[in-house]
């Protein structure tokens, strides 16, 4: 079942972008535009995560945070202020992470993923066509048969799945899979992608996006 995320953001454009980003990777979203509506929403429905702007009308993010803390729902703060005070304040109140505007959609997805995993809410099993991926066991099967993947190939597959329907550049893949300190050629990515396509028969799913990079389309 897809995860349900509450977006509390007063600017409709930003709210829509977040929604678009989350929808692409198959999260369900609910949008509210002020603090009180957020509170009502939380009472009414169960959410797996809340993305919360600090400066929202009627009830500000920090006050809202204090009220919803007992529910133990993971929260990621969005803030236009990069003041250290806000970060400290936000994290102290129990926010799991924060992002300063303007933020990068990919980065937001990565943080959502991290926070959900910390709460044990990430999926234990992902299937694409005949491929099934078990992130906990680091196991991949094709039509029920285990497939031998190198550790880097497996990591690359997970990054593709997390950012499904969004294209990442070769540099972004290098960063996320090989780490920021890796000075290898971007062709390393091409080699691994080629190998993944072949081993898992995902030629149609892993698309090459001209002048950008690769995208897993689901």
């Amino acid at each position: 079942m897809d995860k349900k995320i509450l977006i509390v953001e007063d600017d409709p454009n930003i709210s829509n972008i977040i929604k678009m980003n989350l929808t692409l990777v198959h999260y369900q979203t609910v949008q509210v535009y002020d603090g009180l509506a957020a509170l009502e929403g939380i009472e009414r429905e169960k959410f797996d995560l809340i993305i919360l702007d600090v400066m929202i009308p009627k009830l500000d993010g920090f006050s809202l945070m204090e009220q919803i803390r007992p529910k133990n729902i993971p929260v990621i703060f969005l803030t236009a202020k990069s003041a250290v005070f806000d970060k400290v304040n936000g994290l102290k109140l129990g926010a799991d992470d924060y992002m300063v505007k303007p933020f990068d959609g990919i980065e937001l997805l990565a943080r959502i993923e991290t926070v959900l995993r910390r709460y044990g809410k990430d999926e234990s099993e992902i299937s694409i066509d005949d491929v099934r991926v078990f992130p906990d066991k680091r196991l991949t099967t094709l039509k029920g048969e285990p497939v031998e993947l190198t550790p880097k190939e497996f990591d690359l597959l997970v990054v593709l799945i997390v950012n499904k329907n969004i294209a990442l550049s070769r540099e972004q893949f290098l960063d996320k899979v090989w780490g920021i300190d890796y000075y290898g050629d971007t062709r390393t990515v091409d080699v691994h992608i080629k190998s993944l396509r072949k081993k898992l028969r995902l030629q149609d799913r892993i698309k090459t996006i001209f002048k950008i990079g690769y995208r897993l389309e689901v």
Partner: protein, 475 residues
């Protein structure tokens, strides 16, 4: 050395010097007088003796007997010493061979007294000598009887004069101690009292230096220190006001920066976010259109924000020459543009203008009117009208821009001139509003020495009133 201690010490040193010098002079003078009187007395006594002896010389001459002579002289001496009757009065009579004819002294005659015995006839000499513990006055004269010289020495014990002298010194010493201690006590109190206001002033200065700018000194007295304290207070209030101004300015600047950051980051987040997702995401055509629309409108908002901001910065920095212009001419110039803008929203604009020449900067006044009317248009609904009135009111010239819109809630009224303040964010954003229009108006008004007031009633409308005061020069 502390100030009170200086006052205290120096006044006491001066007091002791003056008091003791005076005492010394008085005592010495008294003593001198007393001594002189004693000496005069002794000398006149001696003269008396001399004249008594002179009186009996003829008789003595008749007898011409040394023995008789000496007896007579001794009798005279006895008579005098007895007659004076005082204790401590003595007499010696010696003949020219050094033999004492009469001597009733109870002490050894000092040897050096002999020098004074070389007195000439009809001459009286006196000398003071300390004998044992006494001070004794010797007066001598020479009397010639029967070709024989007799030295008459009248002696008086004047120890009491010196004792008196010493007593006086003792007395003055006591007085001195009492007077000095009393004086010290008084001076201590006085100098402390005198310096208390200084200490208070000092303490206040320290408080102020430590940041308590509201602290004030007591300025009770009318003396120099009191004047200093009140001047100090005047200074402190000026400093406090300045600091408050600076703090307020700083707060405003910080608020401006915070708001500006927010206003800048929100559209940027949308633009960057949509651009990125359009570039990388697997999206359909309606999502593409949505994204492009947002990028366009947010870009326009940023453009409008940057223009407004440039206006505001320009207004802060530049000096504008004001010229004598007719207000109605300026209004007439921008009316077509305003009416066009109003027609788009199906609004009408009514204009009533009374001609008057004011010192104005044309472009700024246009911007002011434009911003106000733009504001009114945004607040109005279809088929309503906006009224612009400009007329003299007494000394002032007053511009009113009235709309029939929704009005402004009183909680917002105080803040609408703050940069980036918007009563309805969503609506302002739709109209590309940045929340800077009224800040710009206020700045323009202050450059023209004009005040802005707002009258607003919910659901009835809002009126902005700009009052140009006479002598409208920039402050």
């Amino acid at each position: 050395m502390k100030f009170w201690l200086k006052i205290f010490t120096f006044s006491i040193i001066i007091f002791i010097l003056v008091f003791n010098a005076t005492s010394f002079i008085v005592i010495q003078r008294n003593h001198g007088k007393l001594l002189n009187r004693e000496i005069d007395n002794a000398l006149s006594q001696n003269k008396n003796i001399h004249s008594s002896v002179d009186a009996i010389v003829p008789i003595v001459l008749i007898y011409d007997s040394d023995e008789y002579e000496e007896k007579v002289l001794a009798n005279i001496a006895k008579g005098f010493v007895g007659k004076v009757g005082d204790q401590g009065v003595y007499m010696t009579i010696t003949n020219d061979k050094g033999k004492a004819v009469y001597n009733n002294t109870d002490f050894e005659m000092p040897i050096d007294l002999n020098e004074s015995e070389q007195v000439k006839e009809d001459e009286i000499k006196y000398i003071l000598r300390d004998v044992d513990k006494r001070t004794i006055l010797f007066t001598s004269n020479l009397v010639k009887i029967n070709q024989k010289n007799y030295t008459f020495t009248y002696i008086k014990d004047i120890t009491s004069v010196y004792k008196e002298h010493a007593d006086q010194y003792m007395f003055y010493l006591k007085v001195n101690i009492i007077a000095c201690s009393t004086y010290m006590l008084l001076m201590f109190v006085v100098s402390k009292r005198l310096t208390i206001p200084i200490y208070r002033l000092n303490r206040t200065a320290k408080f102020i230096a430590a940041g308590a700018f509201a602290e004030r000194a007591e300025s009770g007295s009318k003396d120099e220190i009191g004047v200093l304290a009140s001047n100090f207070n005047v200074m402190a209030s000026v400093v406090e006001d300045k600091i408050k101004d600076l703090e307020r300015l700083n707060r405003e600047k910080q608020l401006f920066i915070d708001n500006f950051t927010h206003e800048l980051k929100t559209p940027l987040t949308s633009i960057i976010g949509y651009a990125n997702i359009l570039r990388t995401g697997k999206i359909n055509s309606s999502q593409l259109l949505e994204g492009l629309n947002v990028i366009l409108s947010e870009g326009k908002r940023l453009e409008s924000l940057s223009f407004k901001l440039m206006d505001l910065i320009q207004l802060e920095r530049s000096e504008f020459p004001l010229k004598e212009l007719d207000f109605c001419d300026i209004l007439a110039e921008i009316m077509p543009a305003l009416e066009m803008k109003a027609r788009e929203q199906q609004l009408t604009i009514n204009l009533h203008c009374e001609n008057a020449c004011l010192r104005l900067e044309k472009d700024l006044i246009k911007a002011l009117i434009f911003n106000f009317v733009d504001n009114s248009i945004k607040a109005s609904s279809k088929n309503q009208s906006i009224t612009i009135r400009a007329a003299r009111q007494g000394q002032n010239y007053v511009l009113e821009i009235e709309d029939e819109g929704g009005g402004i809630e009183s909680e917002h009224l105080d803040r609408i001139f703050e940069p980036f303040y918007m009563t309805d964010k969503a609506r302002s954003r739709r109209n590309n509003g940045a929340g800077l229009g009224l800040s710009i108006c206020q700045r323009i008004a202050s450059l023209h020495n004009a005040d802005i007031n707002v009258r607003s009633e919910l659901d009835r409308g809002t009126t902005f009133i700009v009052t140009f005061k006479p002598g409208g020069t920039s402050p």
